[in-house]
Amino acid sequence: MDWLLQQLINGLALGSIYALIALGYTMVYGVLRFINFAHADVLMLGAYAAYFIAPAVSTVLPLPSLTGTLIIVLLSAMICAGIGMLIEILAYRPLRQRPRLTVLITAIGVSLFIEFTCQHKAVFGADTKPFPQLLPVHDFHLAGLVIGSNDLVVVVTTLLLLVGLWFIVQRTKMGTAMRAVSYNQQAAALMGININRIISFTFGLGSALAAIAGILYALKAPGIDPLMGVQPGLRAFIAAVLGGIGNLPGAALGGLLLGLLETFAGGISGLSNYRDGIAFAILILILLFKPAGLLGKATVEKV
């Protein structure tokens, strides 16, 4: 029983990270209808931003501390938001009127470009770097169960950001404009919405989310390298599809489900080898019965 509950905790903690990354994928998709594959690499850049900012901040505010961490997260998120907007302006904006496939392939190109540039010795180098301990760590022991404080932070942050995002998209003027752009770009432009600004904002927001996810991921596994985003990025993408891509609560649900599936499959002696196989087989089954994802709406494509 302990074993089961502990795996549940492990799974929720892992799933929350996937959920957080999936939020970024799904939001950009919701507005632009394309998958920003560079999202996973912005996540990595966020972790590196924190890695480089942390020593500077620690001279003013000794780490580990909550305020210090908040400042680091805020700065990293701002840096990544800038990078995200820059990627959009340089790589995606010139392709705005091209077929979606062109943009998709460009996104993969941007992703590879960032990964391999960062692996160069003059940039970050390919070796794994030790990530500093930003938050005070405490393990809560409850009747044989262990809950790490970092895991709690991840779950709470994901929930807060989910609510915050939902609020931005549904309740603010910017969010209304985002939804308008998502329905029909031309019509939105005719209504006086500055499309470029809205899309830039979407990328900035998505990249800030990626930075936060990157830092949380690095806190969980404190070794960072330029390829650290690839694996969780792929999982989060799948989580977004599973939940119904374009749907914010769906992304969160998909992430949690994937984290739980992976954890339970991975915890079986002798079967842990097939962890991803088991998790993905179940996902395929779900998508067979719900092709639009768990919370996605089935839409008919007009030709």
Binding site: N10, A126, F131, G223, G266, G267, S269, G270, N273
Partner: protein, 378 residues
């Protein structure tokens, strides 16, 4: 039209420039090296490459071999599958390497070995310990011990020194090295009367190991054998500590890297692993090598991979000298006939399987450093 011809001209200049730099003039003896200079196992690749470089520079300063300079051409495989065959093919067919040095990771040496074997180019691996590497053919050699030996050494250590009866094994299924070492450890440990209580797997590069570690914790082992590479092992140690697992972790030479200590910090404290040599061992060969290496690489202390990289190059050039020629058949025979060669990592004799027969050492992480514990003879 005009623009097109211009770009074509530029392209052809580019091409000639490219092919031009591949051919090495001077008529030196070309030795190819493939290493993981970037990517996941970069620490290993860089260490072994630095050792190799030091050896070649030392040899050239002393006049080279057979009256000629030795030219070392190094290619990076980025720690990636598939890349090794590209670079090895290039080194052999384009650069005309007479022999090949590389690599640390067994999976990637296994990629290069068939190519070297087919082209009749002798290959010496510095640190690939999986037995399959030299089984590829009679042109493939190594200067390190193999996993059956390393696995047995660790199995005996866990039984006799740690007095453990129940052990959990946690294997990286992506790596031939890890799988091989786990297999031989299990065989040795069961033969000693021990019991394997849990067998879990992970994929190298994973960041979350809690699912498997929770299962391991449930099996209440006395020790956990983790034959992985250092980045994964550091994260495994951290997460094991978080889950309240207090038993020692044990592993092989894949652990030895400063990165293990940098990432793992107090979580790796007190754990054990077997490896090829200890830089704090008292032997004149080791002391001289450590001093030379420190002088060449800004005071860096050479790890086992650096020592093996050095040995692999020295060993190969010694064979070229004994063969009296760089012709591949003669060189192969000279390599195969090596006996009691005095290397930094101990005395090397090549057996019928073209593996080095030599001793291993066991180190423990203590106060943030690797501490020499004991030497185990073959």
């Amino acid at each position: 039209m005009h623009r097109r011809t211009l770009s074509l001209a530029a392209f052809s200049i580019f091409l000639t420039a490219f092919t031009g730099c591949g051919k090495s003039g001077g008529g030196g003896i070309v030795i190819g090296e493939f290493a993981s200079l970037t990517g996941k196992e970069a620490t290993f690749g860089i260490s072994s490459h630095e050792g190799t470089l030091l050896a070649i520079e030392t040899l050239n300063a002393a006049g080279g071999v057979l009256g000629k300079n030795i030219e070392l051409l190094t290619e990076d495989n980025q720690s990636k599958a598939g890349e090794t065959s590209n670079v090895v093919n290039k080194l052999i067919s384009k650069d005309g390497a007479v022999a090949m040095l590389g690599e640390v990771a067994s999976s990637r040496s296994l990629e290069a070995a068939p190519i070297c074997q087919e082209s009749g180019i002798p290959m010496v691996s510095p640190a690939s310990t999986n037995p399959k590497v030299t089984e590829v053919g009679d042109y493939i050699f190594r200067v390190c011990f193999i996993d059956p030996f390393q696995g047995t050494v660790m199995a005996n250590f866990v039984t006799k020194t740690l007095k453990a009866n129940k052990v959990a094994v946690f294997t990286d299924v992506k790596s031939d090295y890890s799988k091989g070492l786990a297999k031989f450890f299990k065989e040795g440990f069961v033969k000693n009367g021990g019991q394997i209580v849990a067998e879990l797997d992970f994929n190298g590069g994973d960041k979350d190991f809690k699912a498997q570690l929770t299962a391991i914790k449930g099996a209440t082992p006395d020790a956990i054998f983790v034959p992985g590479y250092y980045t994964d092992v550091a994260l495994i140690a951290i997460q094991a500590k978080q889950l309240g697992i207090a038993v020692p972790l044990c592993g092989g030479d894949g652990w030895e890297s400063q990165t293990l200590l940098d990432i793992g910090k107090d979580a790796v404290e007190g754990h054990y692993f077997s490896t090829h040599y200890a830089s704090d061992a008292a032997s004149p060969a080791v002391t001289a090598f450590v001093a030379a290496y420190k002088k060449r690489f800004n005071g860096k202390v050479p790890d086992a991979m650096a020592a093996l990289g050095y040995d692999s190059a020295m060993f190969l050039v010694d064979a070229i000298k004994r063969a009296g020629s760089k012709e591949s058949k003669a060189l192969r025979d000279a390599l195969a006939a090596s006996k009691d060669y005095e290397a930094v990592t101990g005395k090397i004799s090549i057996n019928a399987q073209r593996d080095a027969v030599k001793s291993a050492v066991i180190l423990q992480v203590k106060d943030g450093k690797f501490k020499y514990l004991e030497t185990v003879a073959p």
